[in-house]
């Protein structure tokens, strides 16, 4: 349900172009990593800050293990947002092997692995999306959530300066590896103008 931010047509269009973008992302990742990447169909919804906090808390509860998330800002073409990658059910040694890192007990090495993975997955997906929208995004450096503070402390609903955000959710998993993560593209209401313009242009 997308309530007021997008019309039905706009939402369908966005879902369609993110789907195409994900196809391209899967292809790029396959070339880099030499594996088959299973991507879910993107799910478009509208969330409030409290929904995001609740989703994170739910993730936190489900698993005894701490969850890891990496955020990365993107901006371009009158559109801006943050890509948040959440590692759900991921074996970090397996991930390290896939990215050809030395498996390591060292926390800094693991953090670097998570940030590099997020950068690669976010980059692949957002690059596809930017191409579909005929624009080009600039990326900020990836930031590991929970490195300096608890994930739910960080994402406090009252510190978010928006009421509604468009969220595109994509699930990644990789064949024959215990790697599973959710990518959320969060675009706050005030940063949507460029996207809506592009979607309308495509719909015409």
């Amino acid at each position: 349900m997308t309530r007021s931010l997008l019309t039905e047509d706009q939402r369908d269009c966005l879902q369609e172009i993110t789907n195409v973008a994900m196809g391209q992302a899967g292809d790029r990742l396959a070339r880099l990593l030499d594996v088959f990447v299973i991507l879910s169909i993107p799910h478009v919804s509208v969330l409030k800050p409290t929904d995001i906090v609740m989703a994170l808390q739910a993730l936190n509860r489900e698993s005894e293990e701490p969850i890891f998330g990496v955020c990365q800002g993107f901006i371009g073409g009158g559109l801006a947002g943050e890509a948040m990658l959440i590692f759900n059910n991921t074996d970090f040694d397996d991930l390290a092997r896939l990215l050809k890192y030395e498996p390591s007990e060292d926390i800094q090495a693991r953090n670097e692995l998570l940030m590099d993975t997020a950068n690669v997955l976010n980059g692949a997906c957002l690059k596809g999306l930017a191409e579909q929208l005929d624009t080009h995004f600039s990326f900020g450096p990836p930031m590991l959530l929970g490195q300096h503070c608890n994930i739910t402390d960080l994402v406090q609903s009252n510190s978010m300066r928006w009421n509604e955000a468009l969220v595109v959710e994509i699930n990644y998993s990789i064949e024959n590896h215990r790697i599973n993560c959710d990518l959320l593209l969060v675009i706050a209401e005030q940063s949507l103008a460029g996207l809506i313009e592009k979607l309308n242009y495509m719909l015409d």
Binding site: R28, L29, R31, L32, L99, K100, Y101, Q108, N111, E112, M115, D116, N119, V120, G123, A124, K127, F139, P141, P142, Q147
Partner: protein
Amino acid sequence: MTMKEDLSAFFKDVHWLMDILQNIDAGLVVMNRKYQIELWNNFMQNHSGRVPEDALGKTIFEIFPELPRSWFERKAESVFVLHNATFTTWEQRPYLFRFPHYRPITGTAPHMYQNSTIIPLVDTRGNVEHICLIVYDVTDTAVNKIAQQQAHKQLQELSRIDHLTGLYNRGFWESRLIQEFKRFDRYQLNSTLVMFDIDHFKKVNDTYGHTVGDDVIREVSRALRSQLRDLDIAGRYGGEEFGVILTGTTAEGAAVFAERLRNTIENLVVHSEGQEVKFTISLGINQLDESTPDHRAWIEKADQALYQSKEGGRNRYTIF
């Protein structure tokens, strides 16, 4: 506009751009597929002490042998293949290139902390044959962040430690006890609690005064600390009462520990305020088992054993 004016405007633009690239306060290095350097700006020249004539055409690994090759290639490979920028932060790797810190007065670190970004340079045919490495000096940010983290850690330590004894204070020790209880609940690993206090401590205080009393407590803590193993968790539970969690230890093992500590304290002479004070301790031991419903009951059992030691004449241990 004539062709000539066009060209001169173009050259002026290029000249400006080159000036900006050369003088921007960030390192810029353009490399080809073989990691040979094709652009080397002033920042790189000044901080590395290598002039462009020296650097151009050489690989980045020849110029900086300390740069881990496989690590850097892996980062750069994703830029070539995915046409996607990649990042390094000082938190993961303090620096790519070891540039000594150069400011004699306001410099705060032995070397420059660096963040870096590697961006793809797409040619006219849409291929990426070159990448650009951008190096940022983030020393001030890094130093501030590290100082903040250290202050935070110190505060955390302070809030855990009992000032007089240097052992954990009651609050933190109890939270560790709860953790240990939960660990037993899940993994059934042996864990034994020893509670002890100083016999007739009130008399020590009344006879010699509080300063001597404090010294007695301090000396007991010192004796205790010297007999702890890495994983043992000792805290000051009350005025003259102490608690020690011996992880991975049975009641029998704890009895050996208790007897050794009892013996040490019995032979200890505390010199304080010109006085020589001798005293003893009584101990109670309880190994955690399924019959203990929570951590409070665990303390209670060890306390009961301690009480029996007192009843039995003090200067001894009892296993619950």
